[in-house]
Symmetry: C2
Subunit: 238 residues, 2 copies
């Protein structure tokens, strides 16, 4: 038996990890200057996206214009129980402001109440309306796995796939309980998505080893505030 991690973990060098990161600052008390720094860091390190509050989407679009770094913001965040019409209005405003990726949160209350039709109308309507209005949007549905049973995680993932999401994302980073994404959840969601959506692991990702393990498990995005430290750790190793 080997004490080494699985070989596939080493596939992910600093650049590959950076390209997977949703560089995220969504705390309500983050100052405008801190948000600007997060946006700038996403550009400097070649992250996938800068994920910032809705009121800063236009500024992010301005700062990242001409780069490949995408502007990501949140909709119905973090509790997911807004009315469907409000979820759509908020998304439209974000797109008008320049957002290219939208992270929204599944209505966990409806999921627990077995309100499948409402969930599908809500998320499916949201995805199809946005697809019809703007090409190239990346639409992510956050399941808030910390609040779900294993069966609910599977049901939620399938609902998000049926709704047409590009990504299933694990967590807002806000819910009570564990907010660190874990390999078991990523594997479960990859399996449940069956190749019809990608999986993003989000929350507190402690270090480069943690980031690589999530990628090796099948996540293709990492939503974290620790992207700079993680990538520096990998760069320092050469």
């Amino acid at each position: 038996m080997s004490l080494e991690p699985p070989a596939e973990v080493y596939e992910f060098d600093a650049r590959a990890v950076a390209r997977a990161i949703d560089h995220t600052l969504l705390r309500p008390e983050a100052t405008p200057d801190q948000v600007e720094r997060t946006i700038a860091e996403a550009g400097e390190h070649g992250f996938a996206a800068a994920c910032i509050p809705p009121v800063y989407a236009a500024r992010a679009a301005e700062l990242l214009r001409g780069t490949e770094i995408r502007v990501c913001t949140v909709v119905g965040f973090p509790f997911g129980y807004v009315q469907p019409s409000v979820r759509l209005a908020e998304a439209r405003r974000a797109v008008a402001d320049g957002a290219q990726e939208l992270d929204t949160v599944l209505n966990v209350s409806w999921l627990k109440g077995g309100e499948v039709k409402r969930l599908l109308d809500d998320l499916g309507g949201w995805v199809s309306a946005l697809r019809g209005e703007r090409r190239g949007l990346t639409l992510k549905v956050i399941l808030e796995t910390a609040l779900l049973t294993e069966q609910e995680k599977i049901d939620a993932a399938r609902l998000a796939v049926e709704a047409g999401a590009d990504f299933i994302k694990t967590s807002t980073g806000v819910a009570a309980g564990a907010v660190a994404p874990n390999v078991a959840d990523v594997k479960l969601l990859v399996w449940a998505a069956g190749g019809h959506a990608e999986v993003a692991a989000s929350g507190r990702i402690a270090d480069a080893a943690g980031a690589r393990a999530l990628l090796a498990a099948g996540a293709t995005r990492l939503g974290t505030a620790s992207g700079v430290a993680i990538v520096r750790e990998l760069e320092d190793r050469g």
Copy 2:
């Protein structure tokens, strides 16, 4: 020196306390049945309002029709950093659904960034648009005191008063750090509001003594999930 609490605490009997309570269930994982029970309890105990997620406002309006219990829901909750146009759209939808009270959250990021004009345009525009469209709405602005310095609490209270809020509310109950409302904050906000807005204390209120102390300090509403236990405690004492 007396070991008794101040005499004014005794002014608040079970009925007076009940009439001040925003009976609140805003956890994203609360099931539809749990939300219905919260709404029913508000009616049974004569609370001021049932405060529930936006998707349940219409149901609350149906269940509480013909009573004096008010339907309260949240807007831009709990992070407060939605675009002003989204804050207004969400409020309009809630009012159309039957909400009579709206609790929204001040943009703490802008407050910390000194964006006074943006804050006033956002909240002031929101209040005045809603006042022009519907009579009898109660509009509350949550400051999220756990994230603020003392000076920021004063500034935020004055901004909310200038914006025309009916109530300044202490907390979403969600923010990191202490979520229990305290007497010192209530006194500070009552002073800062200068009689131009009422003060609502919200978060974890442990028991009847805690509730009475907040009312004695000048709060006229208590936002809590513990209203039933608090009122029963007072009724049991006779």
